[in-house]
């Protein structure tokens, strides 16, 4: 059996400790097939606990104070509120049929939920637990991205191949932008001047300008040795300085690193199988990826652009968020 080479390991650890601040972050992963949420310690990557939740949990979002986790339990037709101190599901939020993904508005109150089989975006008041609005959108709504100023909510519909720009306050659909086939996630730049949409079947990213709502550019991917149909961009995360966009490429088992200025792909990083969603650590130094087929979580060092480790979580890990 291999043993750790103690002095060298200690030296490496000392270097790592000297290089970065201590982490006490909590990594939360939804496991679609296990009906659980796994909590890991970000520093050690040890599984702290596995909590049962509703059926088919996919999208997850943190409350603004970090105390609660909103879990979209699609097959239970509800959004569950998981208390991260007692580790109990304390409430159910009405969220329409088959909620897949949710995004919390910067006001910390309004949760925008995509109802996959109902062609609807449901707006829920998380404090009062009531539905505030139901906004009809395209077929199979999925991605949900809220502009940094909270004015717009972008929803993508997988079958209509559109990004719907919704006024957060009125629920009015301002624009429908045609993007790549089967759009999944939507992510805004920090200055709110543009947003990115990933297209799973199209295999591309579309950059949409705020205001004109025009598709300004597209980014394509090519991984040596990987068939093009396996390149299915889904989850995205912007680096803290906004210079890089990390894109999960699904069954290509890679995370692409895109330069947000030149739109060139800098690098492809090998992670587990069918990488779906991404989340950055609060200091931006680590990127966590959920790998749905290999049932694990990979960790990427964002400064060195290298995959550090992969650790097993539940079955079919889907969503991931990091609590500071």
């Amino acid at each position: 059996m291999p043993l750790p080479l103690t002095p060298l390991r200690a030296a490496a650890l000392a270097l790592a400790l000297a290089a970065g601040p201590a982490r006490a972050e909590l990594v939360l992963v939804s496991n679609e097939k296990d009906n659980t949420v796994t909590a890991l310690d970000g520093a050690t990557l040890r599984v702290l606990r596995t909590v049962p939740v509703g059926e088919r949990p996919r999208g997850i979002a943190l409350s603004r104070d970090g105390r609660h986790l909103y879990v979209c339990a699609g097959d239970s037709d509800r959004v569950e509120v998981l208390d991260l101190e007692t580790w109990q599901v304390v409430r159910h939020l009405p969220a329409g049929s088959d909620p897949e993904l949710a995004a919390l508005h910067p006001d910390g109150r309004r949760l925008f939920v995509a109802n996959e089989d109902d062609n609807m975006v449901t707006v829920v008041d998380v404090e009062r637990g009531v539905v505030l609005n139901e906004i009809p959108v395209g077929v199979e709504p999925e991605g949900m991205g809220i502009s940094p100023d909270g004015r717009y909510v972008v929803n993508t519909s997988e079958t209509t191949n559109m990004a719907h720009v919704i006024e957060a306050d009125t629920g009015a659909v301002t624009a429908n932008v045609l993007v790549g086939a089967r759009p999944r996630a939507a992510v805004w730049d920090a200055d709110g001047k543009r947003f990115w949409v990933s297209a799973e079947i199209g295999g591309t990213l579309t950059v949409v300008e705020t205001g004109t709502w025009r598709a300004a550019a597209t980014v394509s991917f090519a991984v040596p040795g990987v068939p093009p149909e396996a390149i299915q961009p889904v989850g995205m995360a912007l680096s803290r300085d906004g210079a890089r966009l990390f894109v999960a490429l699904g069954p290509a088992n890679r995370v692409a690193v895109v330069d947000t200025r030149s739109l060139a792909v800098e690098r492809y990083l090998l992670v587990g199988q069918r990488v779906w969603n991404l989340a950055l650590s609060p200091d931006g130094s680590r990127l966590y990826t959920t790998n749905g087929v290999s049932n694990d979580l990979s960790v990427i060092d964002t400064a060195g652009l290298r995959v550090v480790r992969s650790v097993p979580v539940g079955q079919a890990p889907w969503g991931v968020v990091v609590r500071p």
Binding site: M1, P2, L3, P4, L5, L8, R9, A11, A12, P224, G225, V226, P227, N253, L270, V271, G272, Q273, S294, S298, V299, R306, V307, V308, R309, S310
Partner: protein
């Protein structure tokens, strides 16, 4: 005999190896081209095949290029070991080996010096290869390059000792092709150099045990673990024991009184 005499003897042999190395730049290049061909061409075709499972010392999924890099380091050391055995046969044919063996220093020291000098050339090739391999995203941790040094030297010594042992058996230069077919290829392919052993085990259990019994597997694993700052006691033990065994047999083989050399001289 003083320590200075031993050192002077080693310096003389090492200088001779170094001269050979400097004068045969083609040999150095070809020693590098061989593993690079594997890395650039062979590995490219297998990129999508591997990376399904994480096996120690790796803590995450690795590209096939990353997986075979330690195996190719082993390949460099294996060829270097065999090549230095080839040079022994040559030295014997032209007579310089007999001159060397008339030295008042013990035979084991002469052979050890010859061995170490050859290994140092091989280790240098390994580091040049590792530097070039970075273009294929083979990027072990920085400290790993340092930790790999003792592993490379030990593995190189073991393979070199095997070469020495073989060279005491080979009668003529022409027989080197036999070494290629009967030693280098089976050792290289029946090992963990190109595919992880869990894969081999799934395919064939006897082959798996053949790989496990192959000291080359352990040389590769020792280097692989060291590159990722880990120590594999089993590999270390197998490589060390093999080194002692091959070394002792080579010293015997070069004994003009009792060794294979004597038998050959008598036969001729």
């Amino acid at each position: 005999m003083t320590a200075a005499a031993y050192l002077r003897c080693f310096a003389g042999i090492a200088r001779r190896e170094a001269l050979r190395f400097v004068h045969q730049r083609g040999r150095f290049l070809s020693a590098l081209v061989r593993p690079l061909v594997w890395l650039a061409i062979f590995a490219a075709g297998f990129r999508f095949v591997l990376g399904v499972s994480i096996s120690p010392p790796y803590e995450t999924y690795v590209l096939y290029e990353t997986y075979i890099a330690p195996g190719l380091l082993g390949m460099i050391l294996l060829f270097q070991g065999m090549q230095s055995s080839l040079s022994m046969v040559y030295d014997r044919e032209v007579g310089s080996m007999r001159v060397l063996l008339t030295s008042p220093l013990p035979r084991w020291w002469l052979l050890f010096s010859k061995l170490l000098a050859g290994v140092l050339v091989g280790v240098l090739q390994c580091y040049v290869f590792l530097a070039l391999a970075r273009f294929w995203e083979v990027e072990p941790p920085a400290l790993g390059y340092l930790a790999a040094l003792p592993a490379l030297v030990l593995a190189g010594m073991m393979l070199g000792a095997l070469g020495l042992l073989l060279s005491s058996w080979i009668k003529q230069l022409e027989n080197f092709a036999g070494v290629m077919n009967f030693v280098i290829f089976p050792m290289f392919f029946a090992s963990s150099a190109l595919y992880p052993l869990w894969r081999v085990r799934e395919a064939s259990l006897p082959l798996y045990w053949a790989c496990m019994a192959n000291p080359f597997t352990h040389a590769v694993e020792l280097v692989r673990f060291a590159l990722y700052l880990r120590f594999d006691p089993l590999s270390f033990a197998v490589v060390s024991v093999a080194l002692l065994a091959f070394g002792a047999l080579a010293v015997l083989g070069y004994d003009p009184q009792r060794g294979m050399l004597a038998r050959r001289t008598a036969a001729a």
